[in-house]
Symmetry: C2
Subunit: 288 residues, 2 copies
C-alpha cells in the first residue's frame, strides 16, 4: 500500500463551506496537501478566505472548484450537506473521495452510500467548535487533540480510510471510529440536547434579571449563541435521539420537582449523583 | 454623619465561614478595617487562613471571636446562616451590625429582622463566585465590578447602610439595592435553576459518551461541580421561585418537543427567540 502521508501531500482538496469548521480545516491543511480550494455561497467569505491566504483558490461556484478536486470535504450545515450529496454526481462526474463534517451522521452517511460507484466516501465529525460560526473565528489549532469521529461506509475503501486517517492526524486530531447510530445517540447527550437547554433557559429568563447575571448563567446558556439554521438542521436530522433524551430529562425534572416539594431531605443524595457524574466525565478530560 | 470610610477603618470584622466567599472577603478587606477575624468549623480551614495571613485571628469557636467583633458577616451556606442568626443573641449579648452573604434572601432577611433591638442588620448577596467552594480558591479580586445586592431591613439603620455600602465599594463591588422577594425571583432564573439544569444534564449523560464530550457539554454542566449541601440549602429556601421557573421551563420543553416532532419548519423562529434573548442579556454584560 502507498504511504498515506505521501498520498495526502498529492491531494487537491476542495472544502465546501468556509465557516468556522471549513475555514479552520483549510488553515490546518495548508502546506500539507497539494492545493486547498474553497467554496462558499457568500462572496464576502470567499474574498476573506483569499485575502487571508487560507485557500489557494476559492469561488462561490461549485462548478469552478469541484471538477479540479481529488478530495471533497463537505463543511456546511447538515441540511446543505444532504443537498450537496445529491448534486455531486453532476458537478463531479468522474467521482472523488468525499468526506463530510456534519454534526449528525445517520442521514448523511445513508446519503453518502447512495453516491455512484466512481465515488468513495467516509463520514466525519470533529469534536470541537465554538459557539461562533463564521470564518473570522477560524483557528488551525481548534482540532488539537480533539477526537475526530470517522464512520466507515459501504463505499469507504481501505485506501480512502487510510487517507482520511492521515488527514485527521495531520491536523492534530485523533481518529475515533464509530458507527453513525451510536454517534448520533451520544452527541444527542453531549451536544444537541445541551444546546436546547441553553436556548430554552435564555428564552425564559426575563431581561430585568440582567443585573444579577453572573458566570453561572453565562456558562449554562453559552451554546444559545450558536447559529440557529445550523442547529435547526442538527435537531431535525437527529430528531429521534434528541426527543429520547428530552423525554428522559423531563422525567428527571418531574422527579426533582417532587423531591424539592415533598422530600427535600433526599435532595442531597439526588444532587450528589449528578455531581459525581459530572466529575467522572471530567476526569482526564480537561484538555479536550 | 460620620465619614463611612473612616467608620469602616474602625471596625473589627468577624467573618463566619471561611470558604470561597468568606475567604475572598477577608482577603479583600485586609488592611481596610481595624482587624479581620475568622470563624470556621473546620480546624484545617482555620489553620490555613492563619497561615496565609488572610485573617488576624481565627478560631473554630464562635465564642472566642464574636464577643470581640463590631461587624459580623455570615458567609456560610444558607441553612447555617439561618441557624447562626438564632444563636447570635447568646454569643453576642451586646449586639452588633450583622450582614449575611446568603444566596437566597427572603427567609434569611425575615430571620435577621427577629434579632433583638441591640442588633442592626443588612441582607447581602455578592453576584460572583466559582463552582469551587473552598478557601484555597479564595481570591480578593472576585468582587471586582460585581453587583452586590443589599437588602435594607426594618432593623437596618442609616448608619449601618452607609457602613455596608462603604464596605461593598471598598472591595470593588457595586452596591445594588433590591428587596428580598425580587432578588429570590431573579436569581431563580439566573443561578438556582441553571444549577438544576446542569446537575440533571450531568446525571442523565451516560459515561460511555465521554470520548465525545467537548466544550459545549462542559460549559452547560459546569455548575454541577458546585457544593451539593450549599446548593441544597439554596434550592430548599428558594423552593417556591425555583419550582415556578421549573414549571415554566417544562412548558417550553413540551412546546419545543412538539415543534421538533410536528412542525420542524417553525423551529428556526422558535430558536431565534432564545438566541436573541441570550444576546440581549450579554450586551454590555461581558466583564461581570
Amino acid at each position: 500500500m502507498d504511504d498515506p502521508d505521501f498520498m495526502l501531500e498529492q491531494q487537491t482538496v476542495a472544502i465546501v463551506g468556509l465557516g468556522l469548521m471549513g475555514g479552520s480545516l483549510a488553515m490546518a491543511l495548508k502546506g500539507y496537501v497539494r492545493r486547498v480550494l474553497g467554496v462558499d455561497r457568500d462572496p464576502q467569505t470567499v474574498q476573506l478566505a483569499l485575502q487571508k491566504g487560507i485557500v489557494d483558490q476559492a469561488d462561490t461556484d461549485l462548478g469552478k472548484i469541484l471538477p479540479i478536486a481529488d478530495l471533497i470535504i463537505l463543511a456546511t450545515p447538515v441540511g446543505t450537506i444532504l443537498d450537496l450529496i445529491t448534486l455531486l454526481p453532476n458537478w463531479k462526474p468522474d467521482g472523488a473521495l468525499v468526506i463530510d463534517l456534519g454534526s449528525t451522521k445517520t442521514q448523511i452517511c445513508k446519503a453518502l452510500q447512495t453516491l455512484p460507484i466512481q465515488f468513495t466516501a467516509v463520514g466525519g465529525h470533529p469534536m470541537c467548535g465554538k459557539e461562533t460560526s463564521a470564518l473570522e473565528y477560524a483557528d488551525a489549532s481548534m482540532f488539537d487533540q480533539a477526537p475526530f469521529v470517522l464512520v466507515e461506509l459501504k463505499n469507504s475503501d481501505e485506501k480512502s480510510m487510510h487517507l482520511v486517517e492521515s488527514l485527521v492526524k495531520r491536523i492534530g486530531a485523533i481518529p475515533f471510529p464509530l458507527d453513525a447510530k451510536t454517534h448520533d445517540h451520544w452527541v444527542a447527550y453531549t451536544s444537541h440536547f445541551p444546546y436546547l437547554l441553553s436556548n430554552l433557559l435564555a428564552r425564559i429568563t426575563p431581561t430585568e434579571t440582567k443585573p444579577l447575571v453572573a458566570g453561572g448563567w453565562r456558562s449554562t446558556t453559552r451554546l444559545a449563541a450558536s447559529s440557529v439554521p445550523m442547529m435547526k438542521d442538527i435537531l431535525v436530522t437527529n430528531r429521534e435521539m434528541v426527543l429520547q433524551v428530552l423525554d428522559e430529562f423531563m422525567m428527571q425534572l418531574r422527579e426533582v420537582r417532587s423531591i424539592i416539594e415533598k422530600t427535600p431531605n433526599s435532595l442531597n443524595d439526588y444532587l450528589s449523583a449528578g455531581q459525581s457524574s459530572y466529575l467522572e466525565m471530567m476526569t482526564n478530560n480537561e484538555t479536550q
